[in-house]
């Protein structure tokens, strides 16, 4: 592979780096270069402060109180739902269900809609590039229901095999199709809108895993026309402990409840209960109130940055990083080499250097990348590799940080 010269100019961070207190840290005496945003992003002051302020001035349990604090907390909790609904262009805030994370959202669908609608012999169509969170819940459902799991393959280039997808949709007429809007390993962004349209023609219900996508791209569930979408706050500048499940209202109305308990009920008698209206029907027990408020702050922050500019920035960083990695003949990107239709998660292997050793050596230079199977063991098997290293940037990432990564990789490679 020829060594190309990189011509791209310096890329500054999109978000002011001083907004992110953690980025001022030094790690083992060197400045932190955080390139593990695909696992979890860092948080701006505004998000951290929104939660502290909430606890300092207006915490109380929601929904059940007729006093000032509780009414305030309830209003914040419900206003955030509207902010989130608008952020993904949902039709109504009733379509927004708070969860702990993407994983819980996917499991919720498997254990409610899935148990109700998936029967023995039915096909659930996934893809080979899914995260464990979009595989294991369906294996559990398949065990219970007798459904069959079919997977759309990934090409050697590291893209979804779209021809195969259309074929599998026709061949199996799956009851449910679930796939990630952006792979956390390959970075790939499949043509979701077309895939969803095809799925609907074949009568399938479509669930999208937005864990990676919603952090980086404008998301429009009405335009996509997906039936469900799950994502996590912590990957998009928000706090841990909060995620979102979007669902089309008509589907949500028909679904049985998920967890039972306080807040999700209308009436309870000793031997029977009736469920609350949407969205509360799916929110049992005291919710993650502060975290909802933190997530709203994160979304307002992203909206001020503008999601189209976030997408542009992350694309520029991705392109720059792919270019620079291509200078290293002993480094091999797992996933498309071009930045087209792929996001800011770049996995690679290094000749003679196990990803885990690479991560440890990079860490000595203050550079945080992830090494492992990235919760995508089937994809590792597909590429016949035990693991990859993965560098993933976000709104605070600069091209200087990519340069630091490349230099450190060179050093690490020289050791081995």
């Amino acid at each position: 592979m020829a060594v190309r010269k990189v011509s791209a100019a310096h890329i500054a961070s999109l978000a002011p780096r001083e907004d992110f207190p953690i980025l001022a840290q030094t790690i083992r005496g060197v400045p932190l270069v955080f390139l593990d945003s695909a696992a979890s992003s860092q948080k701006p002051h505004e998000v951290i402060d929104a939660m502290s302020r909430y606890y300092e001035t207006s915490h109380a349990n929601v929904h059940r109180g007729a006093y000032f604090l509780s009414e305030q907390a309830s209003a914040s909790y419900e206003n955030a739902r509207i902010t989130i609904a608008k952020f993904i262009h949902a039709r109504s805030a009733k379509e927004i269900i708070y969860t702990r994370n993407t994983t819980e959202g996917l499991n919720l669908i498997a254990q409610t809609w899935g148990l109700q609608n998936i029967h023995s012999g039915d096909v659930i169509l996934l893809t080979e590039m899914e995260h464990h969170s979009n595989i294991v819940p369906w294996q559990m459902l398949a065990q219970r229901s007798g459904a069959k799991l079919v997977y759309t393959p990934v090409t050697d280039e590291g893209r979804l095999d779209i021809e195969a997808y259309y074929r599998l949709v026709c061949e199996h007429a799956p009851k449910l199709i679930s796939f990630s809007l952006m792979s956390n390993v390959l970075g790939v962004i499949p043509p979701a809108k077309e895939m969803i349209a095809a799925a609907h023609s074949a009568g399938a219900v479509v669930l999208c895993d937005g864990a990676q996508f919603t952090a980086h791209y404008p998301t429009d569930v009405r335009d996509l026309d997906c039936d469900f979408l799950a994502f996590s706050g912590h990957k998009m500048l928000g706090p841990t402990g909060i995620g979102v499940l979007y669902g089309k209202r008509a589907l949500l109305e028909e679904m049985p409840p998920f967890l039972g308990g306080g807040d999700m009920i209308h009436e309870v008698h000793l031997q029977s209960f009736s469920t609350a209206e949407l969205p509360w029907k799916f929110e049992a027990g005291t919710p993650a109130i502060a975290e909802v408020i933190g997530l709203e702050a994160a979304i307002l922050y992203l909206q001020r940055l503008q999601m189209t500019r976030v997408a542009e920035h992350d694309h520029a960083i991705t392109k720059y990083a792919l270019n620079r990695l291509s200078e290293l003949p002993w480094a091999h990107v797992i996933g498309p080499a071009s930045a087209e239709d792929r996001g800011a998660a770049i996995s690679f292997t290094i000749d003679g250097l196990h990803p885990h050793d690479a991560a440890t050596l990079l860490d000595r230079d203050g550079i945080a990348v992830r090494a492992g199977h990235h919760c995508a063991q089937p994809l590792m098997e597909r590429f016949n590799i035990p693991a990859t290293a993965r560098a993933s940037g976000y709104v605070y990432t600069t091209s200087n940080e990519i340069d630091a990564l490349i230099e450190s990789l060179k050093k690490a490679h020289a050791v081995f």
Binding site: H63, G65, A66, E71, S74, S92, E267
Partner: protein
């Protein structure tokens, strides 16, 4: 002492001596709803004559706000056609109850209107405004 805008004499009067409280033996329409938040429950029976509300009675247990609101609403209902009943808005009720009412108590104030709309008039669950 007017302790505040909400519990003023007008409301307390309706609470202490509610109008139209009781049960109709043979209502043309009957419905009941409860507010799980506070355990309020309102049932309502309506008799129509010549297409107008000839008699209406409500019953149930509940807070002063929900009881006064039911008393006020049933007063408003008398003599109205279903078409006119449909015109009674949330704001009409909230205006009568008082401006100083928090969101949790609004549900109490609007419980009887819910019974009227969904139960008596059979209106479908209000679709929320679509978000822009």
């Amino acid at each position: 002492m007017a302790i505040d805008d909400l519990y003023r004499e007008y409301i307390l009067e309706h609470y202490r001596s509610p109008h139209n409280k009781g049960d109709l033996l043979q209502p043309d329409k009957y419905a009941a709803y409860s507010n799980p938040l506070c355990g309020d429950r309102i049932q309502m029976g309506v008799q129509f004559q010549d297409g107008k509300v000839a008699d209406v009675r409500f019953n149930g247990n509940g807070c002063a706000i929900s009881q006064a609101a039911a008393s006020i609403l049933t007063d408003m209902m008398l003599g109205k056609t279903p078409e006119e009943l449909r015109q009674i808005s949330r704001d009409d009720i909230l205006e009568m109850i008082g401006p100083d009412i928090g969101p949790a108590r609004q549900k109490c104030a609007l419980l009887s209107l819910d019974v009227l709309r969904k139960g008596i008039l059979g209106e479908p669950e209000a679709e929320d405004e679509e978000l822009d």
